[in-house]
Structures are given as structure tokens and as C-alpha cells.
């Protein structure tokens, strides 16, 4: 393969991956009942309408509740899981590793439906809280893997040195292990937030009357076109990117202070 062919191949592929995303932005720049591209009137009035709409705020707040709860819980469970996955060698580790990745290799809508049936059988009405549980089944394994990457090639000697110097188990974990894991935990948390924010198949069946952003967009898209859909799509994506950038900036600031 020549250099040119390779560049063209990769370039074309990346371009194609972004075509739908650019299309959403283009579609959002009109406010007509039916999509007629190229637009006669290019306008941002759909954005103004979307921001003025109560629904837009509501679906964002629900998505935010879910994604924040998922991030916090997934980071706690995932960090503990990573210690078992990669830090210690123990009997049963082989099984633990295989069981842990099972939810990733599982059709998500099927998981959502199974959980919906179980919640209903247990008399728990579906809401954003049950959606959090559904997201965690899929996201905890992912966060565990992300944190585990930090633990491969981790030097156990530091922990041993700390305990030889009289540190308790908890002190060793807090003072030696956690700081080492911190970058993995941060990436795990950000992954959890973004994946939860964007998730459609699990939320679609488990969030009940609380409609998160992706579910609202999906239902509107599958039923009928509305100029609000592309505008809300763009707003939702920008909001999640903004939250992640803010989190990264805040963490960098804290790091510099300490």
C-alpha cells in the first residue's frame, strides 16, 4: 500500500464518521416544520426555542442526575474491583475477570428489558434511579478495566515499604495506592459520566416516566421530525463536553494547588 492510498483510506473513514454529526449541526440551523436542505432561512431560532422550552431543561436535569450518580458509584465499585482484577493475585481471580467482563458482552436492550421485568416483579416503579442501576451493570466493568490499566506494571514494593515503616493497611491504601491510581480513577469517572450521559438502550427500558436526553431524542426521531430535535441534540452534546472539560480543568487546578 502506498502512503497516499493509506492517507486517503483513513481520511475518508474519519470524514464518514463525522458526516452524521455535521449533518445534525446543519439540520439545527433552520426552524421549519419539514427538513428541506439547503435551508431557505438559516437561523438559530430553533436553539432559542429549545432553551426556552421547559422540556429541554427537564431532560438535561434527569440525564445529569443519572450520569453524576453513575460516575460516583461506578468509580467506588470500579476502583475496588480493579484492586481485585489487577493488584492482587488470588484464588478465583481468573473467574472474577471473566465474570466481570460478561456485562460488556451482553446485548444492552436485553439487559434493560430483563431489569425492567425484575424491577416490576419486585414492585419497584421504574424511574431515573432504576436507570442508574441499569447503567452501573454495564459501566462498573468498564471503569474497573480503565482503572486496572494503571495497576498493570504497578510497583508493589512501595506498599511494602510503607507497611514496613509502620503504616496501617488503610494508610497504605490511602497514602500509597490511591495516589498511584488517581489518573485511572479520573479517566474512569469521566468515561462513566460520558457513557451514562449518551446511553440509549439501557435508559429506554429502565427510566420509566423520567425521560433522559437520549431517550427523548430517540422517541422524537422515531415518531416525527421536529426542528427542536437537532437543536437539542447539539445542546446536549455540548453540555456533556462542557461538563467534562470543566471537570478536567477543576482537577488540574486542585493538582497545582497541592
Amino acid at each position: 500500500m502506498t502512503r497516499l492510498v493509506m492517507t486517503l483510506w483513513v481520511g475518508a473513514l474519519v470524514t464518514l464518521l463525522y458526516v452524521p454529526i455535521v449533518s445534525v449541526v446543519l439540520a439545527s440551523l433552520a426552524n421549519t416544520r419539514y427538513m428541506r436542505f439547503p435551508h431557505k432561512d438559516w437561523t438559530t431560532s430553533a436553539y432559542a426555542e429549545a432553551i426556552a422550552s421547559h422540556t429541554t431543561w427537564q431532560i438535561h436535569i434527569i440525564s445529569l442526575n443519572i450520569a453524576l450518580s453513575v460516575s460516583v458509584l461506578a468509580v467506588i465499585l470500579g476502583t475496588l474491583g480493579a484492586m481485585a482484577f489487577a493488584r492482587y493475585d488470588w484464588r478465583g481471580q481468573g473467574w472474577f475477570r471473566r465474570i466481570l467482563v460478561l456485562p460488556i458482552f451482553f446485548p444492552q436492550p436485553v439487559l434493560g428489558l430483563a431489569l425492567l421485568l425484575s424491577f416490576t416483579a419486585a414492585g419497584i416503579p421504574p424511574s431515573w434511579k432504576t436507570a442508574v442501576i441499569a447503567h452501573l451493570v454495564w459501566i462498573v466493568p468498564i471503569v474497573t478495566l480503565v482503572v486496572s490499566i494503571r495497576l498493570f506494571g504497578y510497583d508493589v514494593a512501595q506498599e511494602e515499604a510503607a507497611s514496613d515503616l509502620g503504616a496501617t493497611r488503610w494508610q497504605v491504601f490511602k497514602e500509597v495506592t490511591l495516589p498511584q491510581l488517581a489518573p485511572g480513577i479520573v479517566s474512569g469517572g469521566l468515561f462513566a459520566f460520558l457513557l451514562s450521559w449518551a446511553n440509549l438502550p439501557l435508559s429506554a427500558f429502565t427510566s420509566g416516566a423520567d425521560t433522559p436526553l437520549p431517550v427523548w431524542l430517540f422517541t422524537r426521531t422515531a415518531t416525527n421530525y421536529s426542528p427542536l430535535v437537532p437543536a437539542v441534540s447539539v445542546i446536549g452534546t455540548v453540555v456533556s463536553a462542557g461538563i467534562v472539560l470543566l471537570a478536567i480543568a477543576a482537577l488540574a487546578l486542585i493538582r497545582r494547588r497541592t
Binding site: V10, P20, Y88
Partner: protein, 279 residues
């Protein structure tokens, strides 16, 4: 006393038992209840499974299996050369391209599929509208058809094939290929007898992930396929919701889970995690 590894694993195991294993058990049990009942304490029967097979629910299952197989093969053909280029030839551009390909994964499926649908929309869509305005060309559209849904599945799942495949290709030592070439192997022989077997773990993970995710995929058929075909998730949803027949829906769910398990478990059992991570 148990080792610390066990205690660190315990919370995760407890959570997955309650929120993953137990729901599967409940669905399996519900699938054995008589049709159209909501009581879980009746004597078990296999009526739902016989009904699922005789009442034509084999069809949605078949569409989903065909769609998943097709998507797995197509993404594999697209991802293999891409992974080879990124791993061996792209140099410091590799990381930039990898990030560009990974980023859309964090944008909701709803948004990206909606984008694909406005791009492909007949007449006023981005593609059809631009061609009409610039060249005066009128084109048809694959939207609201099974090919449209398949395109959506390939689009959404490409990264899930690519990244494991890059991992797989990184497992091939470069000197092996050169050795094979020196010994007179042609390109095809190098691919079949050296590269594919050595990259097998990555290939297996990518194929499993893509196949399983596509098996349950529903949004692509709903948004781009216009329900031209009913996929299995849509059929299950109908049983659970509209038809209010939980045992029948559960039986279909168990059939999907059984297919998934039959494919995933043997591969996972043979996968060596230490080899994948400690290169």
C-alpha cells in the same frame, strides 16, 4: 482468612449478582410461566417456547442474527486495514486518528443515528438536497429500508471492532512477518498463516463485542430502517408492552441470552487476560 483480592472483589460480585445474574434468573423463571399471566408462582411450562417457535418469532430473531453477522463481517473488513495502517504506518498521527475515531462513541447513539437519517433523508435531506441544489441530480434513498438499518449498525459499531483489532495487531511481532516473507510466503499466506492467528485474541474480542451489541440493536432499525423489518428487541418490547404478555417476552429474551452465551462463553473461557495486558 481470605486474601485481600477476594474482599476487594466482593462488592462488585455482590452488585453483579443482584443486578445482572438475578434479573436473568427472574426472566428465565418468568419465561416458564403460562402465557399472559403475571403470577410467578404457577407450575412451570414450556408453552412460551413452543409458541415462540410456531408463532413466527423465529423471524425477528433471524433478522437480528443476520444483521449482527453482516455488521461483524463488514466492520471487520473495514477495520483490519485501518488497524494495520494505524499500528504500523501512521507513526505519531496514530493517536490523533484514534482519538478522532473514539470521540463519536461518547456522543449519544440517538444523536448520531438522527444525523445519519437527516443526511440520508429522501428529497430534503442533506445529501439529496445538496445534490439537487448543486448538480440538479435526483437520487433515491436507502432510508426506511433494511439496508439503511444495516448502514446504521456498521456506522455505530465500527469503533467497537477497530480498537480490539488494533490491540490484536499489536500482538503480532514484526520479525514474524519478515521471517515469513523471507521464507517465500506471499501476502495472502502471511495474512492467513501469520497475522490472523497471532491477532486472533483481538479479532475475537472485536467480533464478539460487535456481534453481541448488534444482536440486541434496536435504534438503527427504528430510526433508519423505519421498522421495515422487526428486530428481536422490538419483538420482545411488543410482548412486554403492547401485548402485555410477559412470559412470552421473557421466552424470547431467554433465547437471545442463550445465543449470546453460546457465543461469548467459549471464547471468554479460552481468552488469556495476562497475555493481553502484560505485553
Amino acid at each position: 482468612m481470605r486474601s485481600p483480592g477476594f474482599w476487594f472483589a466482593a462488592p462488585v460480585i455482590a452488585f453483579l449478582t443482584l443486578a445482572f445474574a438475578l434479573p436473568i434468573g427472574i426472566v428465565a423463571w418468568t419465561s416458564l410461566m403460562p402465557p399472559r399471566t403475571f403470577d410467578l408462582s404457577l407450575p412451570p411450562t414450556i408453552a412460551n417456547y413452543t409458541a415462540a417457535i410456531t408463532e413466527g418469532y423465529g423471524r425477528p430473531l433471524m433478522w437480528s442474527v443476520i444483521g449482527a453477522t453482516f455488521t461483524t463481517l463488514v466492520t471487520m473488513l473495514l477495520a483490519w486495514p485501518t488497524a494495520v495502517i494505524l499500528h504500523r504506518h501512521a507513526g505519531r498521527w496514530a493517536i490523533v486518528v484514534a482519538i478522532l475515531i473514539a470521540l463519536p462513541v461518547f456522543i449519544s447513539e440517538s444523536v448520531r443515528l438522527f444525523g445519519l437519517s437527516v443526511f440520508l433523508m429522501p428529497r430534503g435531506g442533506i445529501l439529496a438536497g445538496s445534490l439537487q441544489a448543486v448538480f440538479g441530480l435526483q437520487i433515491g434513498s436507502i432510508q426506511n429500508s433494511w439496508p439503511g438499518a444495516l448502514l446504521g449498525m456498521v456506522y455505530i459499531h465500527f469503533p467497537f471492532m477497530l480498537f480490539p483489532l488494533i490491540l490484536g495487531i499489536s500482538l503480532i511481532p514484526k520479525d514474524r512477518i519478515e521471517a515469513a516473507r523471507d521464507l517465500g510466503a506471499n501476502r495472502w499466506q502471511v495474512l492467513c498463516e501469520v497475522e490472523l492467528p497471532l491477532a486472533a485474541p483481538g479479532l475475537a474480542i472485536g467480533a464478539l463485542l460487535t456481534f453481541v451489541l448488534c444482536l440486541g440493536a434496536n435504534a438503527e432499525a427504528a430510526i433508519l430502517g423505519g421498522r421495515a423489518v422487526t428486530v428481536i428487541t422490538a419483538a420482545i418490547e411488543q410482548r412486554f408492552g403492547y401485548a402485555q404478555d410477559w412470559p412470552a417476552g421473557s421466552a424470547l429474551t431467554v433465547m437471545v441470552i442463550a445465543i449470546t452465551a453460546a457465543i461469548v462463553l467459549p471464547v471468554l473461557a479460552r481468552l488469556d487476560f495476562d497475555r493481553l495486558t502484560k505485553r
